[in-house]
């Protein structure tokens, strides 16, 4: 586990380094025209507009509320403190984010790996074994991807309360698994069909079993695709709000995104506290994205471009 965390941190470190390497401008400059200058100005204006909301929330989160009540850009006086983070983490006014984030991890980790294992096996058989029902099943999978969460939630709620799975993470994990399967199977099926079949045939001739071929030959080649799936599904599940909102009702069992609306409160809005909570809740998906950016984006575009 420790090695895993270290490897993860290392990955982040190299990403950040690569990030800054890109900033450094090359010494040899191409000829500069007015339209290139204009393009650069527009580009950085865009970057500023998109960065300001994040910047505002971050600055508000590290200062006391009294200083930012009339705008986080008023820098006099500037008191740096982390009381907002302590309050949000320990839960002065609502359920503590420390518990909620742990709960979110307990749900997200199994709900990330379980569907990926199932979909890898299903997609492999989809891509390699011919059957007549395959095309129909394929169409069903495409349609299932578009089902809104609202379409299943009423029977799920009734089912969960009958089986006393409300406030229980097993139900939620299975629900996320079922919702992750359609797009993951499609994604992996597309990926498997690009792998050369000759290698597998050779292994089959040499007497390897289907399972052994899958484990020894196909799986190692599939690692980049799996990295895409892991990063996407982790972020989806962690960010999910609706399923948790309906099925997890007890205050101590709530997940991290559920705490955000609670921090808004009914009457007075303590924005510094809310900002600190927001930063804590978004830090993990953002870290995953920064670390696995290439795989994340590739997964998203491959799924989208192939439909």
């Amino acid at each position: 586990m420790k090695a895993l965390i270290l490897a993860f941190l290392n990955r982040i470190k190299t990403s950040i380094r690569a990030f800054f390497n890109k900033i450094r401008l090359p010494t040899k400059k191409p000829k500069i025209t007015s339209s290139t200058i204009l393009a650069h100005v527009i580009a950085w204006v865009i970057a500023t507009i998109w960065l300001i909301p994040f910047l505002g929330v971050f600055i508000a989160s590290i200062r006391p509320l009294s200083e930012v009540r009339f705008g986080w850009w008023n820098l006099q006086p500037f008191t740096l403190n982390f009381n907002n983070y302590v309050d949000a983490w320990a839960g002065q006014t609502t359920s503590p984010l420390s518990t909620a984030m742990l709960n979110s991890l307990i749900v997200t980790i199994p709900a990330t790996f379980l569907p990926i294992i199932v979909s890898a096996l299903a997609a492999y058989s989809f891509a390699r074994f011919r059957s007549r029902t395959k095309d129909i099943l394929f169409l069903v999978l495409v349609l299932l991807q578009t089902i809104p969460q609202q379409m299943v939630i009423v029977p799920i709620y009734t089912l969960f309360s009958n089986l006393s799975l409300l406030n229980n993470y097993v139900g939620l994990i299975l629900l996320h698994t079922a919702f992750g399967l359609p797009w993951q199977v499609l994604f992996l099926r597309n990926f498997f069909s690009t792998l050369p079949i000759e290698v597998e045939e050779a292994a089959l001739v040499d007497g390897a079993s289907y399972f052994k071929i899958f484990r020894r030959i196909v799986l190692p080649l599939t690692l980049p695709a799996l990295a895409s799936l892991v990063s996407l599904q982790f972020v989806f599940v962690w960010n999910d709000f609706f399923f948790a909102l309906v099925t997890i009702l007890s205050p101590s069992a709530k997940l991290a995104p559920q705490i955000i609306p609670l921090l808004i409160g009914r009457y007075e809005l303590n924005f510094s506290l809310l900002a600190a909570g927001s930063v804590l809740v978004m830090i993990l998906p953002v870290a995953i994205y920064v670390a696995l950016q290439r795989y994340y984006v590739r997964g998203l575009t491959a799924g989208a471009v192939k439909g």
Binding site: I23, I52, R69, G71, M151, V152, V154, F242, A275, L300
Partner: protein, 278 residues
């Protein structure tokens, strides 16, 4: 899969035909209610748009698509083309894309803060250019809440459109641009004659996925406005939640879910149909 997706879909359709409480079969009464009868007492009936069509949430989704779709397509394509040729473009792309990665509840918080009366950037900018009289909590007023949430969602979703377009741009052969520049075509002409037509299938995908996203929108509305004030910024998915789990009327909630799903299926069927022709 069967237990968590297929059975619930069938059961939701079934529940949508039942009355509240006793569960008698009432045919299309729930649909009639949510589409034509339901008038939120808080909605200003003098407002013609909502007075004539009590299906406020459905109209809001359509307004949402009408504003959000063209702007994200425009921004997404423009950003992708612009940032391809700019130094540090990959970093700017990563910044713009961050909105897609953060939880949508946090996204709602981010732009609620931007539109805040005292602490928000938008109102500060208005004061700077001398329009301070217009400063207000944009998300908390009936006539502006829907539009401010839509603007916020454009800020979030543009990153997605941009990333898909960037991938689409990589598929355009460089030779086409070289040939165009040899022929002396202007940048403008190159963009309209090569880039846009070559991105046609990408645009189809972006349009479809954006409409699906716009129909399913829930989290940011819940956080930024709670559908309020008085239902002025409610959308189908939020209406479904408040009918089924706050008003405890599963039948009408299910009816809204079925309407929503029929719309998403329509969009998906269109995409599958068009993709198979390409």
């Amino acid at each position: 899969m069967a237990i968590f997706v297929l059975y619930p879909i069938v059961d939701t359709v079934y529940v949508s035909f039942l009355s509240q409480g006793k569960g008698n079969f009432v045919g299309l009464e729930n649909y009639n209610y949510v589409l034509f009868q339901k008038v939120n007492p808080l909605i200003n009936t003098a407002n013609i748009l909502q007075g004539v069509f009590p299906m406020g949430a459905l109209i809001h989704n359509i307004i949402w698509i009408g504003i959000h779709l063209p702007l994200t397509i425009l921004f997404g394509m423009f950003f992708a083309v612009l940032l391809r040729d700019v130094k540090g473009g990959t970093i700017i792309k990563a910044i713009v894309f961050l909105g897609v990665v953060v939880p949508l509840v946090v996204g709602g918080v981010l732009f609620r803060y931007v539109f805040d009366k005292d602490a928000g950037v938008v109102n500060a900018a208005l004061r700077v250019i001398g329009l301070g009289d217009f400063a207000r909590d944009w998300t908390q007023f009936r006539d502006t809440s829907l539009f401010s949430v839509i603007l916020g969602s454009i800020w979030i979703w543009t990153g997605f459109a941009m990333i898909i377009y960037s991938a689409g741009l990589e598929g355009i052969p460089k030779e086409m641009y070289e040939a165009a520049s040899i022929d002396g075509a202007s940048r403008w002409k190159t963009f309209w004659r090569i880039t846009v037509p070559m991105l046609r299938s990408t645009t189809l995908v972006v349009v479809t996925l954006s409409i699906l996203w716009e129909l399913k929108i829930f989290d940011i509305v819940y956080v930024a406005t709670r559908g309020g004030p008085g239902g002025a910024s409610s959308v189908l998915a939020f209406d479904m939640y408040s009918e089924a789990f706050q008003a405890n009327n599963l039948g009408t909630g299910a009816a809204i879910a079925v309407i929503l799903t029929l719309m998403t299926f329509g969009v998906a069927a269109y995409l599958v149909n068009r993709m198979s022709k390409l």
